[in-house]
């Protein structure tokens, strides 16, 4: 499954920041730091998983690194060139190579358009040949995702959730992108359909070799599909590791809590008293001081309450942001 890593990453995000201004009727406008200094690089053909709970900034990260959101600060290197500096037709050319697959197969497809028009829209926008060529490519990609092209004249509501997700995948892959962001791409599906769609994504990736940022709250899905995993908590990466190492020996207390909380589908290993992390995920509008995880952390010390720990290397390819863990 793993491809040889080339030296230049396909995409390198360096110290990316993205915040939003939240205004409501009560009180003054507040600043929500959704992504707070995140660096990530993705090699051609690599699958990087991002896992975390609601409000951890994983979706914002996915959208920011393909410039669906404009980053507030930081660099985005696409094949070595800073893509935050380009605009107009140059940006359009880069964007052709990056696509996104969304969570909700209902709201992400225009209900008033025929399926073949939804799938061929990116081809038309990027002028990929004449009418005939576009029709041929549309048919080809529909076959690839397992939607019979004779259904091209139907509308999204005439398909099931799993089929709609296939349509969303066809749209994303029509332009043969180098990089695909999957934002909770299988979370809305029933488990038997989820397995079909994950297998389809793996088949297509083997065939076309695109790189993939796979965002999900479901650790088991991320574990299955990714080569490396990033764990996020309130806007920051708390741990980054190759999949096998992360699952075998999670280092950050939050990663450990996440793994312990994940229900295991095997009643014979049911634990009498699991170590369950206490408390709620704090609001990203008002994150705790120091290490954001300290109010819930069993290892927290005064230092954790005062300063945010840097993400430091603990072994090759593996980093963790925790004062206690990095102190040994």
């Amino acid at each position: 499954m793993s491809k040889v890593r080339s030296t230049t990453p396909l995409l390198a995000a360096q110290d990316v920041h993205k915040s939003f201004t939240i205004k409501d009727d009560r009180g003054p406008a507040r600043n929500l730091k959704a992504v707070d200094g995140v660096s990530v690089d993705i090699a051609p053909g690599e699958v990087v998983g991002v896992v975390g709970e609601s409000g951890c900034g994983k979706s914002t990260l996915g959208k920011t690194i393909i410039r669906m959101y404009e980053p507030d600060a930081g660099k985005l290197l696409w094949k070595g060139n800073d893509m935050t500096l380009v605009s107009g037709t140059d940006l359009k050319t880069i964007r052709k190579d990056m696509q996104m697959i969304f969570q909700d197969p209902y709201s992400s497809l225009n209900p008033r358009k025929k399926v073949r028009d939804i799938i061929s829209q990116p081809l038309r926008i990027h002028a990929q040949g004449d009418k005939e060529e576009i029709a041929r490519r549309t048919e080809e990609v529909m076959n690839e995702v397992g939607i019979n092209p004779v259904y091209g004249r139907r509308y999204p509501h005439q398909f099931s959730g799993g089929q709609r997700q296939r349509i969303g995948i066809a749209r994303a892959l029509a332009l043969k992108p180098d990089f695909v962001v999957c934002d909770e791409a299988v979370s809305a599906l029933d488990v038997s359909i989820q397995a079909q769609i994950l297998n389809l994504l793996l088949d297509l990736r083997d065939k076309h070799g695109f790189a993939n940022l796979f965002i999900s709250h479901d650790l088991s899905v991320v574990e299955f599909i990714s080569q490396r995993i990033l764990v996020m908590y309130l806007g920051r990466i708390v741990e980054r590791a190759p999949k096998v190492e992360l699952m075998k020996e999670p280092l950050h207390p939050y990663t450990r809590a996440l793994l312990a909380a994940f229900p295991i589908a095997d009643p014979s290993v049911r634990k009498q008293k699991k170590q369950i992390v206490v408390g709620d995920v704090p609001s990203p509008l008002d994150p705790p001081s120091g290490c954001h995880f300290h109010p819930r952390c069993p290892l927290a010390t005064d230092r954790c309450r005062e300063a945010y720990p840097p993400l430091v290397d603990v072994s090759p390819g593996r980093q963790v942001a925790c004062w206690e863990v990095s102190a040994g």
Partner: protein, 344 residues
């Protein structure tokens, strides 16, 4: 209200709390009749946790609504069946008596607690209302009891939280409030939890499941847990019933079901979980091909036949009778998975 646990545990185990026989529920829609639950037989013993699992549209929520008589009618129709609760047929009960039962002996919590709570009242007063309605307590006394319950479900600073409105609480806290409300009764018998943790983050889900298990033992109530998540089932259930397209296809004690699934659908469901041991290190997940049939056009025969690897001729013509292989294991299949089909 909480100290009613001291009954002999073994005796409690054996007693039937809820018995469903031959339940058929359909929905008469403009496009035709949808048979949402078909010939369902199910029972829950005092104090046990029964998990009802299956994918969207399998009839698990409709079953829960039928028990509480909250199936919207029309278009819903309970065509036939008996639902016994401690010996009384709920389907024959006058509306007034059913109302008295709902929220006191049978309570229900849902996936999205925000939609079950009234946004314009404080959570304390909403819990207190249960005591005022069912026990005719005074306002002050009822509110004090509400605070006690918020403490029981481990809401920090319950006195202050009782004065919060639902929108001021997190999703996990709201679900705790719903659980507190369902315990606001002198003798809770059955709690129906319909995907209670599906909308919650995984660390919060673990907290809520632990809380439910603890409270269940403490209060001595039974739990009907409706979920699609086999992990949640494995960690909380005593027994499991698997539903598919309106039918119960298999039922067994939890260890037995996971170790020795006999219905091909159960086996498929266990194997397509990404965390299933058989998928460890695999290049592809095991999956069940095809999709759930449209309930409007369902023919006679087994509804799983179009996706089943074990399909035989008779599967297309008749729905299989229930085969009972032991006291705690039964299934409906013409050509079951044989031998030790242990997916682990």
């Amino acid at each position: 209200m909480i100290e009613t646990t001291t009954k002999n545990e073994a005796a409690v185990r054996q007693e039937e709390l809820l018995g469903i026989d031959n339940l058929n529920v359909s929905f008469h829609t403009r496009r035709g009749v949808v048979k949402a639950v078909r010939n369902l037989r199910l029972n829950i013993k005092e104090g046990e946790t029964l998990a009802l699992v299956g994918e969207s549209g399998c009839g698990k929520s409709v079953t829960a609504h039928a028990i509480t008589r909250l199936v919207p009618m029309p278009p819903g129709v309970i065509e036939s069946g008996i639902i016994r609760f401690r010996g009384t047929d709920l389907l024959k009960l006058p509306d007034k008596e059913m109302r008295a039962l709902r929220g006191s002996k049978i309570s229900m919590i849902f996936q999205e607690p925000m939609t079950s709570l009234n946004p314009v009242f404080t959570v304390g007063s909403q819990i207190a209302e249960v005591f005022i309605t069912h026990e005719k307590l005074g306002k002050k006394e009822a509110f004090a009891k509400a605070v006690e319950l918020l403490d029981l479900v481990k809401i920090p600073d319950p006195g202050k939280r009782a004065l919060s409105y639902p929108h001021q609480l997190s999703g996990g806290m709201r679900q705790r409030v719903m659980i507190a409300m369902s315990l606001a009764s002198p003798e809770p018998g059955l709690m129906i939890a319909d995907e209670p943790t599906t909308a919650l983050d995984v660390t919060i889900q673990a907290q809520i499941l632990q809380l439910l298990t603890e409270l269940k033992a403490r209060v001595g109530m039974a739990l009907l847990l409706i979920t699609h998540d086999m992990g949640v089932v494995a960690e909380t259930a005593d027994r499991v019933a698997v539903m598919y397209a309106g039918h119960k296809v298999e039922e067994a004690a939890v260890e037995e079901l996971f170790a020795n699934p006999r219905h091909p659908y159960t086996l498929g469901l266990l194997k397509c979980q990404p965390s299933a041991p058989s998928n460890r290190g695999a290049n592809r997940l095991s999956s069940i091909e095809g999709s759930v049939p449209d309930l409007l056009t369902l023919k006679e025969g087994c509804p799983f036949a179009n996706r089943c690897e074990n399909v035989k001729k008779e599967c297309l013509s008749s729905f299989p009778e229930i085969t009972r292989i032991s006291e705690n294991h039964e299934f409906s299949c013409h050509n079951p998975v044989t031998g030790s089909g242990d997916p682990r």
